[in-house]
Symmetry: C2
Subunit: 300 residues, 2 copies
DNA sequence: TCAATTGTTTTTTATAATATTGTACAAATA
DNA sequence: TATTTGTACAATATTATAAAAAACAATTGA
């Protein structure tokens, strides 16, 4: 009826683990020290100590705490199952949106999402609030949330924004010092592109991964928290749409390989202007592809 | 112990208002229709109708609903006071952070913020979740939130990001059609800049407003939801820091006026390259100013 | 017969209540 | 005097639940 005691349970087991490393009848460190070890507050530690005393694991009077016996496996508390990783919720959510081709202006039910993603409702609320900053979702007047994304306007503005960021990245690469790791990565990418170009007839599906690697390498030169945050979302969206638009995939990928190689050429020649121009061409192609993939979905 | 009935109360008063426009003994529209009028679900409408019947305002049997008497002021329900505008929470929060010079890595107490801003805690949670997308705040491992912003690294990256966006905007302005409203605005800005330049000795404080107008005009040409979202935060932060860094303010503002005029000159000559270059110089100055204002605060 | 409306049930959302956890400070110890 | 513990209090996370929305079934009237 209030917050869970997972923190206490985890701390208890962790302290138990720590005690196992101690010699028999060893003194137990101070509460503050234990709190540091378990990464929780003293309140939780005191609960743990109380339980340990009850179970006859330790003696505890004032600041005199001693280990009475070695902890056994059955001393541990059971943890509430299903940690349900909150971290990659974003990945899973976008995956869901794109994979099931959830149309724009779909009402999102927090209750339903909570079930499908196995995540508590308040976590989702927080997550959706974050996404609303990207204009991907918004609050509905009658309550709840709504998926906005993936209209034509959204795709255009996303592409444009991506272009702005990526052209900036390209410029920065051209100015990167010779010992920057990006140059080694680009050399490797050039080789891999050439190899795939040879085997394009059979392996054209492989391009998707290469494309992601290429753009990641370019953008890795830019160290900026704001840009990095957006890049994650952008690359995910583009990546998926490319994977699913199967029309003329082979031809498209062959063309993209050449575009990538042109960019690499210009970069290695340290010709920022040419690199920007080549990147601009490539980004225009990408935009067209993204838009046409949306059109196909509209028809299907 | 659950959600408030504000929605019902507001709907009731709105329906009352609608009934006042009706002739005496008029039939009441269908529940669905009323729901549309009040912007609320049928469930709420039925609660409203029940209350109206109890108060002898209407007769209600099945789908036969009639007005019995004209609603009077005392029929209205009292609304829970203090709407506490959720909309400009962002403005007020950033204002608070910057005005009180809240240092980086300050733990934020949702309870305390809730009191100072007169906003429910869950609204704040949602808001902070949104800000965490901008890297301004983050979750602490032991629970709660923490203000990250306004370290040197943050200022640098923010400035860099601003430059990327603004240089893009400048390029777009240079390509804007002659009948675009930005040209009229720039002409006006030129005049205002020249006027202030004349009176700089006395009115140099006025520059802050002019600066905001100038950058807003440039950026208004870019129609992009992602960029617009960021611009709001960026301009607010720069704006405040300029206001408070009083060192050499007059000299700084005089220089900035000239920089602005150079940009306007290049733009009106449709010389995108020169405009970008001038903008780049101006943005570099801005960055330096922002950084030095942080340094002053560190010392103070 | 069928579209519109109402009656009823189910589902979802917003939010107050609250157990758990964190934190500050006083008292005790060594 | 610096640690450590005891105690009180405040904040947070999470639940429980009333309010609202949505879905569905039954009814009505043209």
């Amino acid at each position: 009826m209030a917050r869970s005691d997972t923190r206490y349970r985890e701390a208890f087991n962790r302290i138990l683990g720590y005690c196992e490393t101690l010699p028999p009848e060893a003194p137990i460190p101070s509460e503050t020290r234990l709190a540091e070890i378990a990464g929780v507050s003293r309140t939780v530690i005191r609960r743990c100590l109380t339980r340990m005393e009850e179970r006859g694991l330790i003696s505890w009077r004032g600041r005199d705490k001693h280990l009475l016996r070695q902890p056994r496996p059955e001393d541990r508390i059971a943890l509430p199952e299903a940690p349900a990783d909150r971290r990659d919720l974003e990945q899973r959510f976008l995956d869901w949106v794109l994979r099931f081709d959830v149309p724009a202006n779909t009402p999102l039910s927090v209750a339903e999402l909570s079930r499908t993603f196995d995540v508590p409702q308040y976590d989702l609320k927080e997550f959706l609030a974050g996404l609303s900053r990207f204009g991907l979702v918004s609050r509905r007047p009658q309550g709840g949330w709504m998926l906005l994304g993936f209209t034509k306007g959204f795709a255009i503005e996303l592409s444009d924004f991506r272009s702005v960021l990526e052209l900036n990245a390209v410029t920065q690469v051209a100015e990167a010092p010779v010992d920057h790791p990006v140059w080694a990565e680009l050399a490797q990418l050039r080789a891999d592109h050439l190899a795939l170009k040879q085997a394009i007839d059979g392996d054209f599906h492989e391009f998707s991964k290469l494309d992601e690697r290429f753009h990641l390498a370019i953008n890795s030169v830019v160290r900026n928290r704001f840009i990095a945050e957006f890049q994650k979302v952008i690359s995910l969206i583009f990546h998926y749409h490319y994977m699913w638009d199967k029309s003329e995939e082979k031809h498209r990928n062959a063309a993209a390989i050449d575009e990538h190689l042109t960019i690499i050429d210009a970069l290695e020649a340290r010709d920022a202007g040419a690199a920007r121009e080549a990147a601009q061409r490539h980004l225009r192609t990408s935009k067209t592809t993204l838009l046409s993939s949306l059109r196909h979905h509209d028809l299907g």
